[in-house]
């Protein structure tokens, strides 16, 4: 197995942002409910969740546009209580980009520098440097109204980066771009963050965006943080059904707990038989029942006489073609819901007729226990 290089960056274990039991209420409604979180220096951190989950509220409180009803926020060891937005070591890329329409690109980027009273050539150098970082060299004299959506976004980035903030906050920065441009910008943003080494906090409702760019992700629902972990951990070991559902497809399988000890669970399922699985950290036993989940791509069709150590037999009841992949819906005797299986189309999964009896291979480790 080839060794996968992992670029070493400026990421350290030093906490950059500490959020301690922050609550934000509007009357009886709690936009954010007792959220605690530590974001490390140099980290690309994402707040992921559906609209109304409190992610933007939290970001705006870090920026200083909103204040916690209770709890505390500190940046780089300094409490942000009572410090207004204009005196915080954070800068923001707004969802609407908020490019000043009466100024050109250069003037937009230099806007915050004016307060620092730098010498003319120094200011010019920093503006040029910031424009180069976002590949906008030469467009300094353009008016904001003459820019495309992607270019406006780069101006917003340059305008924030030129301030050399300790933390860069990004409020759904890619949501206004079309799919192609968005995917390209995801790669660029990630590359930029690694180059400048600044802590990035991204708010997004797009799970793929969060998975593709982040070092760690906090998944939020209804004002609460459900799980904080690396993209891989979040995807493969979601703590509950809600998190699992939000990050792509998941087959849920009912199970009976046979044995529970420190770190593992032994369960009986009707379709998959007896399984030994890691016990999730936040696992709370709810009687004798448990829920297991397996991602559709972790089930593999067994062709001809191929066998696997762990397999399950069933019948194809539906087939959906998606170009590079095919979704098969497979009924398994004993399971109350059929399994969803994703298969790449290199072996002809797109030609399996509905009604065919097939066998599926799986890795018992891919079956993860989670809270309901």
């Amino acid at each position: 197995m080839p060794e996968r290089p992992r670029t070493e960056r400026t990421q350290t274990e030093r906490p950059m942002i500490e959020i301690k039991s922050v609550t934000r209420s509007y009357g009886a409604f709690k936009a954010l409910d007792d959220a605690s979180l530590t974001i490390k220096e140099g980290e690309f951190f994402s707040l992921l969740g559906p609209s109304g989950c409190g992610k933007t509220t939290l970001l705006r409180m870090i920026a200083g546009f909103d204040n916690p009803t209770s709890g505390s926020i500190s940046v780089d060891g300094q409490s942000m209580e009572g410090i207004p937005a204009n005196r915080r070591p954070t800068n923001m890329v707004f969802q609407s980009y908020a490019i000043f329409p009466h100024l050109n690109v250069e003037q937009n980027v230099a806007y915050g520098l004016k307060r620092l009273k730098l010498a003319g050539p120094e200011e010019k150098r920093r503006v040029e440097e910031a424009l180069a970082q976002v590949s906008l060299t030469g467009l300094g004299k353009r008016l904001a109204t003459e820019l495309s959506g992607g270019q406006r976004q780069r101006v917003a980035l340059a305008r924030a980066l030129v301030m050399r903030p300790k933390v860069l906050l990004l409020d759904e920065p890619l949501s206004a771009l079309d799919k192609k441009l968005r995917e390209q910008m995801q790669v660029e943003l990630r590359r930029l963050q690694q180059a400048v080494g600044i802590t990035f906090v991204l708010v997004t409702h797009d799970q793929y965006e969060a998975l593709a760019m982040s070092d760690r992700i906090a998944v939020m629902f209804g004002g609460r943080i459900a799980q904080v972990a690396s993209p891989k951990e979040i995807y493969q070991r979601p703590v509950n059904r809600q998190v699992a559902d939000f990050l792509g497809g998941m087959n849920f399988v009912k199970a009976e707990i046979v044995e529970e000890n420190g770190a593992s669970l032994v369960v009986d399922t009707l379709g998959f038989g007896r399984i030994k699985t890691d016990k999730p950290k936040a696992f709370v036993r709810n009687g004798g029942a448990a829920t297991l989940g397996i991602r559709p791509e972790r089930l593999r069709v067994l062709w001809d006489n191929a066998t696997a150590k762990f397999e399950v037999a069933g019948k194809v009841v539906e087939r959906h073609y998606f170009g590079e992949i095919t979704h098969l819906i497979v009924e398994i005797p004993g399971l109350e819901k059929p399994l969803s299986v994703t298969e790449t189309n290199d072996f002809g999964a797109d030609d399996i007729p509905v009604g065919t009896s097939i066998r599926l291979a799986y890795d018992p480790e891919a079956l993860v226990a989670m809270a309901d």
Binding site: A85, Q95, H102, Y111, R115, L116, G149, R152
Partner: protein, 274 residues
């Protein structure tokens, strides 16, 4: 058949629209026509073309005084109403507080109050306060009637102004005042200039309130009113009236162009990402 019917309908509609416009503007057209007529009485047929009525205007000291007074009153009223308008428009478009709508309604009310009632009430208040009537009291009256117009123009300028622009400015380290100076003001500058022009025009043409509230100093409309008693002065009044008409028309056109420019700029901002 339908084409025929449509033509008939359109024909009637066009005729109606034409009459409508004639009714609105025919009286106004007579003013410039008779102001270049040689005869002292305004009647057809016209007797000949002359500019002598216009040439006489600068040779009338009372008229020059009135013009100067109007200018002073107009500029003061325009500046005052616009400053007050900026504060009110800003508050009404930016903040949400109880009574916001009611306050907006009360500010706009002078637009529909009978002007003579407003004039008499103001006169009573000013006399009760022991102020003497002067151009200053005229300015106060004009501010009162101009604010609704100034508010209309300014709220349009402030509305649709993307709030995140001001947040972005704060985020980049700028203070509240600095943000107002470097972002808000430049963004609404066209609306402010437009408001100044509209208020000036209203003050320039306003007669009733000026008539009640001025002391011995006449503004242009009061001067015109005084001249109407003398039949021989009529062509001069017509010439002056034509100039005032042209000035008002010009100022309002510029104001409207600026207002649209401002609206386009702020709305473009929001529209692009919507």
């Amino acid at each position: 058949m339908t084409a025929m019917r449509r033509f008939l309908a359109n024909g009637w509609l066009s005729a109606y629209a034409f009459l409508y416009v004639v009714f609105l503007y025919l009286p106004v057209i007579f003013l410039p026509i008779f102001s270049v007529n040689t005869a002292a009485t305004p009647k057809f047929p016209l007797s000949g073309f002359t500019l002598k009525w216009y040439e006489d205007l600068p040779r009338t000291p009372a008229l020059l005084d009135a013009a100067w007074n109007s200018l002073v009153v107009g500029v003061s009223a325009a500046i005052l109403s616009t400053v007050l308008g900026i504060l009110a428009a800003r508050s009404i478009t930016r903040y949400r507080y109880p009574g916001r709508r009611a306050i907006n309604g009360l500010i706009m009310a002078p637009l529909v109050l009978p002007e003579i009632i407003v004039a008499i009430s103001l006169l009573l208040v000013i006399l009760q306060l022991g102020l003497s009537l002067s151009l200053f009291t005229v300015v106060l009256g004009h501010v009162l009637v101009s604010i609704p117009y100034s508010m209309t123009v300014l709220t349009a300028g402030f509305e649709g102004f993307d709030r995140s622009l001001e947040e972005a400015s704060a985020d980049l380290g700028e203070s509240a005042f600095g943000t107002f100076r470097r972002v808000t003001l430049p963004m609404v500058a066209p609306a402010i200039i437009s408001s100044l022009l509209v208020c000036f025009t209203i003050s320039l043409d306003e007669f009733l309130i000026a008539f009640f509230l001025t002391g011995t100093e006449a503004t242009l409309p009061i001067y015109i009113w005084g001249q109407l008693r003398f039949a021989s002065k009529l062509p001069g009044v017509l010439a002056l009236g034509t100039l005032l008409l042209a000035a008002s028309f010009l100022l309002m056109t510029v104001a409207e162009i600026l207002r649209r420019h401002a609206a386009k700029r702020t709305q473009n901002e929001g529209g692009l990402y919507a």
